[in-house]
């Protein structure tokens, strides 16, 4: 066992839903999960930047993940959550909150089950996805958070799961 609890070829991921699509982030990048709270809006920012919140004395920027992925705006329900992410951008540790519709569970995925990312038309799409996993009923897209959040652009991942399925 490695010190982070993973065996060399089995990794842990946190899965979450945006609408009907399921995505996963590596657990090492997720600090914790928060319930929705009052957001302070920061004006004149990209549409997917929702504002900031107070995380134990630190001001944390919030991103509407749906909007970031080119989907429609998040409609807040009791299940809406914030994933506090800690990713490495330009050799700096950057923290941010990602708003998601639904948080599912932590699953263990063995390396041999990971399929290469889909190459669908636009080549940029693939760099945002490290790989995908097929379970009985559905596909899970494993996200490359660094790539996604290092750009200010909207990352068009809408409908990617259904594209692959068909």
């Amino acid at each position: 066992m490695n010190t982070d609890g993973t065996q060399k070829d089995i990794q842990s991921y946190l899965t979450f839903k945006l609408g009907d699509e399921i995505f996963a982030a590596h657990v090492s990048k997720v600090l914790n999960i928060l319930e929705m709270m009052k957001i302070t809006k920061v004006p004149k920012a990209p549409s997917y930047m929702k504002g900031v919140i107070n995380l134990r004395g630190m001001v944390l920027p919030l991103i509407d993940t749906r909007l970031k992925f080119g989907m429609s705006e998040t409609e807040f329900t009791p299940s809406t959550c914030i994933l506090v992410l800690d990713i490495n951008l330009n050799n700096e540790s950057v923290k941010m909150g990602a708003i998601v519709d639904f948080v599912q569970e932590v699953i263990e995925i063995s390396k041999d089950k990971i399929q290469p990312p889909p190459t669908l038309g636009n080549k940029y799409k693939s760099s945002f996805i490290d790989g995908m996993v097929k379970t009985e009923d559905y596909f899970i897209m494993l996200l490359n958070l660094e790539q996604i959040f290092s750009t200010d652009e909207i990352v068009s991942l809408k409908g990617v799961t259904s594209e692959v399925a068909s």
Partner: protein, 681 residues
């Protein structure tokens, strides 16, 4: 024989010349042992050679003078004016003697006899019982002076029956004293071994004595203790009230102070030193004195960081308390809370004073640098700085000194053109380097702007192509080309001058700035100049803010920028021509914060116009309500929001929500641009 005699005369003249020269040098450097040695040897040689070649008189004369110098070089006789004159006389005489054909000129003989007498008199005085030397010693002893003594007995010193206290008592009994006991190394009872000595002493002693005599007190413990004895002042410092007061402030139990600090204390209490400084430095005096006081406190920087963190938490918690007290007010609790608020404000201010230091402490040396360097390169450059009262952490400033130095060097070396070139370009012969420092959110910006030739992007492109750093077809923006400047070893300067040097490139500068978590940006325009901006985060920033409400959301406006607040009915500013309003007979532009923060406009009721000011520009910000004052601990907004126009930091309110802090500088810049746009329409 004659040939040899001739040789002797030649050599003798040389020796005499050497004696004369040494004597002249000794005038300015009376304790120089090498010079004394030189004279001694010269005399010695003359003595030997003189008798060999039949110049007995020279031999006799020099024999005695040589003795005198032997005594001097062994420290048994001081070199005085008298001796100097005597020696000169003797060497003149020697010259005279060797220049004369025959040694029996009466005048010369007389001189010779006189000289001999003088010399032997001196010698007999000395042998009479060292009267001169005794006097010297007596004088030495009766000279008042203040000394610093550090005494740290070895840990095992009790083992041979020594009682260090007796020694301290003996010292104290020699004159006026101040004894500082250091017991901080004494472990607690569990770990204490009573056989060991953990104590040390620092003593200030004013007495008519000498370092030698003081050392004798410690004669039995010389090799089993750490002893330091140094002179602090040639006066009795205990007569100086200022010094005494400062001494009283030393509390036992604090860490060892050290000779240097005492010296600083002594000098800063010394009025005459202060006056000398004043004369020498003029305006810079105040700053130098401030340097003294800055360096007289030595606290570990981790302690300072800890202090600041605690202060920040205290401020935030106190805000929550205030909020609670507001809602559940009971008379007594309100009063108590007010007191806590006052105290926490004072504590915060004090903590800042300790940790933060204004930039002007390092600006002085840049003035110097510019002056010296421009002279050296035959350029005319003037250096100006604004915002020098802007404060930064002491450690950050220390890390900024070198990079700034290098940037300014670059400006003068590569940026500013020679006066002729400038004139031919229609610029004033004198170049200008402007340094601006100001706060922006949780950062301090330092801009260095010159009006020189700017950075030639073509040169960069060419050089980069040469070095194979870019492809021919690569279409790089100016910004990307400037970035290339930061690569190691990259220099487009024609000659690598001594000034900017090789190896201290912009890559090192960027690294040093990155080490303090800062950023560096370059902007430039050909022939107009270059502007380099450093953005450095401050560890902690707490400001007094004005809490305002806009569309049910709270915002903070730094109180320091608030000029005045007006309460105006909406109708008075509705449809105002070009968004100008006359307040107190001043025409001020105003802007609706509601609009800026993307909320619907009010249609009626009272509006609050908060006039903010930066330098000479005033702008009115319209908010719904002014809630009150608030001590805001500034938090950075993060990379995602670095392009905000009017907001650059946030704070956490008493109820846990985040409030944005309006950046006055940015806001005024932004709104001024809007005005210009509108006016041009």
């Amino acid at each position: 024989m004659d040939k040899l005699k001739q040789k002797f005369i030649e050599e003798a003249s040389e020796h005499v010349a050497e004696i004369e020269q040494s004597l002249l040098l000794l005038e300015n450097d009376p304790d120089n042992p090498d010079l004394i040695e030189k004279i001694f040897r010269a005399m010695h040689t003359l003595k030997g050679a003189g008798s060999m070649f039949g110049f007995e008189k020279i031999s006799d004369l020099t024999h005695n003078v040589e003795n005198i110098y032997d005594l001097i070089r062994n420290g048994k006789l001081p070199f005085t004016r008298n001796i100097a004159d005597l020696t000169l006389g003797a060497s003149d005489l020697i010259r005279l003697i060797i220049s004369e054909e025959n040694q029996s000129e009466p005048a010369t003989l007389e001189k010779y006899e006189n000289m001999k007498e003088v010399v032997s008199n001196i010698l007999s005085e000395i042998s009479k019982g060292n009267a001169t030397i005794m006097d010297e010693k007596a004088i030495d002893e009766s000279l008042m002076a203040t000394y610093y003594i550090y005494f740290k007995p070895g840990i095992n010193i009790f083992n041979n029956g020594t009682n260090p206290l007796y020694l301290v008592e003996e010292l104290a009994g020699m004159g006026k004293s101040f004894v500082l006991v250091h017991q901080e190394n004494i472990p607690d009872l569990e770990n204490l071994d009573p056989e060991y000595c953990y104590t040390s002493w620092e003593i200030v002693l004013a007495a008519e004595t000498s370092v030698k005599t003081i050392r004798e007190v410690f004669i039995f413990v010389e090799d089993s203790a750490e002893i330091e004895i140094q002179e602090l002042s040639k006066k009795d410092l205990f007569e100086n009230k200022k010094f005494l007061r400062k001494l009283e402030k030393f509390i036992p139990g604090t860490n060892e102070i050290g000779f240097d600090q005492f010296k600083v204390l002594a000098e800063s209490s010394d009025q005459s030193v202060a006056n000398k400084l004043k004369k020498a430095l003029g305006d810079d005096y105040k700053k130098t004195v401030r340097d003294y006081s800055i360096s007289s406190i030595r606290v570990a920087s981790e302690k300072l960081d800890h202090l600041m963190n605690l202060v920040s938490e205290m401020v935030t918690t106190q805000a929550r308390l205030s909020l609670y007290v507001e809602h559940e007010s009971s008379g007594e609790l309100t009063t108590i809370n007010e007191n806590i608020q006052k105290l926490s404000r004072q504590l915060r201010d004090l903590a800042f004073e300790i940790v933060l230091v204004p930039i002007d402490t390092i600006i002085i040396r840049y003035q110097r640098l510019v002056r010296d360097l421009s002279k050296e390169l035959n350029k005319m450059v003037v250096f100006q700085a604004t915002g020098t009262e802007t404060e930064l952490d002491k450690t950050v400033i220390e890390n900024l000194t070198d990079p700034l130095m290098h940037i300014i060097r670059n400006c003068i070396d590569h940026g500013i053109e020679l006066p002729d070139e400038r004139i031919s370009k229609g610029k004033p012969a004198e170049g200008k380097i402007q340094l601006n420092a100001f706060h922006s959110g949780t950062n301090v910006h330092i801009e260095i702007q010159d009006d020189g030739r700017g950075i030639d992007v073509e040169k960069i492109r060419t050089k980069a192509l040469q070095k194979g750093l870019i492809h021919d077809e690569a279409n790089l923006s100016d910004r990307q080309l400037y970035d290339l400047l930061f690569l190691p070893g990259f220099s487009t300067a024609e000659n690598v001058t001594d000034v900017s040097g090789r190896g201290v490139g912009m890559d090192v500068v960027r690294q040093k700035i990155a080490n303090i978590r800062g950023e560096i940006q370059v902007e430039s325009q050909k022939d107009l100049g270059t502007k380099i901006t450093l953005k450095i985060p401050i560890t902690l920033s707490i400001i007094d803010g004005l809490l305002v409400e806009v569309d049910k959301t709270n915002y903070i406006i730094p109180l320091i920028s608030v000029s005045k607040i007006y309460s105006i009915d909406h109708s008075a500013i509705e449809n105002k021509f070009n968004n100008y309003i006359v307040l107190d007979e001043e025409r001020i532009p105003f802007f609706y914060l509601r609009e800026e923060f993307e909320a619907a406009k009010n249609t009626e009721g009272q509006e609050q116009v908060i006039v903010i000011q930066y330098e000479n520009q005033k702008v009115g910000l319209v908010a719904d309500a002014v809630v009150g004052e608030y001590q805001a601990v500034l938090k950075p907004l993060g990379k995602h929001y670095r392009n905000q126009q009017i907001v650059s930091a946030a704070t956490i309110l008493g109820d846990g929500t985040v409030a944005l802090v309006i950046d006055t500088n940015r806001a005024i810049n932004y709104f001024s641009k809007l005005i210009t746009v509108e006016e041009s329409l």
